[in-house]
Symmetry: C2
Subunit: 209 residues, 2 copies
């Protein structure tokens, strides 16, 4: 059993509403994904994402009946916060969290699709760079972009990364990637639904950090 497959995201209902409680339970396993990257450099990202999750959870727990779905939560905050919104509360935390989730999605999809650097087939820098460019780069100023390029040197070898995804068990690369593909089905649908919601509610911001 892989780490990922142990913690599948749920099927979405037809209206694509995401149950807040189930979502929080599923994403609670995400921060440990960054441990699979193997370097303490990534613990910083782990805490950032963990902070997002805690922020959303904090809002939810104040009134679970009011914040049943993620959409309920973002809409309730739009009502409550006036001009500050959407740069506030769970809306802001989920805005950033979805980018981290998208980063992971694109990285895993790229690996599952067999994209690799012909000259360095055991490196995952091309996959990480693709994920970064599509999910995060535009929200980062030049200093953080440059830090990304340095941090890339701390990325693990593909073989070690796949092993870590499989909880340290020696599984065949194909088997691990089949598990990844399986995981990506509901995961991608969930991330897509959050992005759609931010577009629909006009909740997206594009400031850089």
């Amino acid at each position: 059993m892989t780490l990922l497959l142990d913690n599948q995201f749920k099927d979405l209902p037809p209206d694509k509403a995401i149950d807040t409680k189930l979502f929080l339970e599923s994403v609670s396993h995400i921060p440990s994904f960054f441990d699979c990257l193997g370097s303490s450099v990534f613990s910083v990202i782990k805490s950032d994402i963990n902070g997002n999750i805690m922020k959303i959870k904090g809002v939810y727990l104040k009134d679970p009946a009011k914040y049943v779905t993620l959409q309920d939560t973002v809409e309730a905050e739009r009502e409550a916060h006036g001009a500050e919104w959407p740069k506030v509360g769970a809306t802001l935390a989920l805005m950033w969290l979805k980018r981290g989730l998208r980063f992971i999605q694109i990285l895993l999809q790229s690996l599952a699709d067999g994209e690799s650097d012909e000259n360095n087939p055991n490196l995952i820098r091309v996959n990480i760079t693709k994920a970064y460019e599509q999910a995060l780069k535009k929200y980062h100023g030049w200093i953080v972009q440059k830090i990304f390029h340095v941090a890339l040197h701390a990325a693990p070898y593909k073989s070690n990364f796949l092993k870590a995804l499989s909880k340290g068990e020696e599984v065949k690369e194909e088997d691990c990637l089949a598990n990844v593909s399986q995981f990506l089905v509901n995961y991608t649908a969930t991330v897509d639904a959050i992005y759609e919601m931010y577009t629909d509610l006009n909740a997206e911001l594009d400031y850089t950090v």
Copy 2:
């Protein structure tokens, strides 16, 4: 009134024992120091330091009568944790926290001493670099060291930094630096006492991250 002077560290008693509760109260104002650096790049460091403080506080609150001083705390953990110690609990958190505190101390001392880059008198990169080299560099592998050099570009101008230290009020540079010197008296004594304690208890580690 400056931000720093509002939150003076306490006088140490003759035996240099540091009261855990008073220490936690004093350092709780430290994370916001990193806001004075003005860039979101430093929010990552702020959370790391905040994490250290929360970890120590968590241990303290479990049994305030047992952990009256920082020394009591480190010694109690040495008893409790066997071979894992000192890379554990409040002992580990304080080990790293003291390095961040030392970084701040050397940076502020260097500014108070008037050390500056003749060619760029309004930059504080020489002061930050000095503090980094003395307090942290040896605990960082080459990737984090390189990230430090990139992050240095996000450092504020001296004038803006001193203004932020003075809570955004326009104070004269000399007045601000006089306040800094005043703040450094008890602060430095406290940081020194923690370092001495780690040496005396053989609690220091020098692994790199």
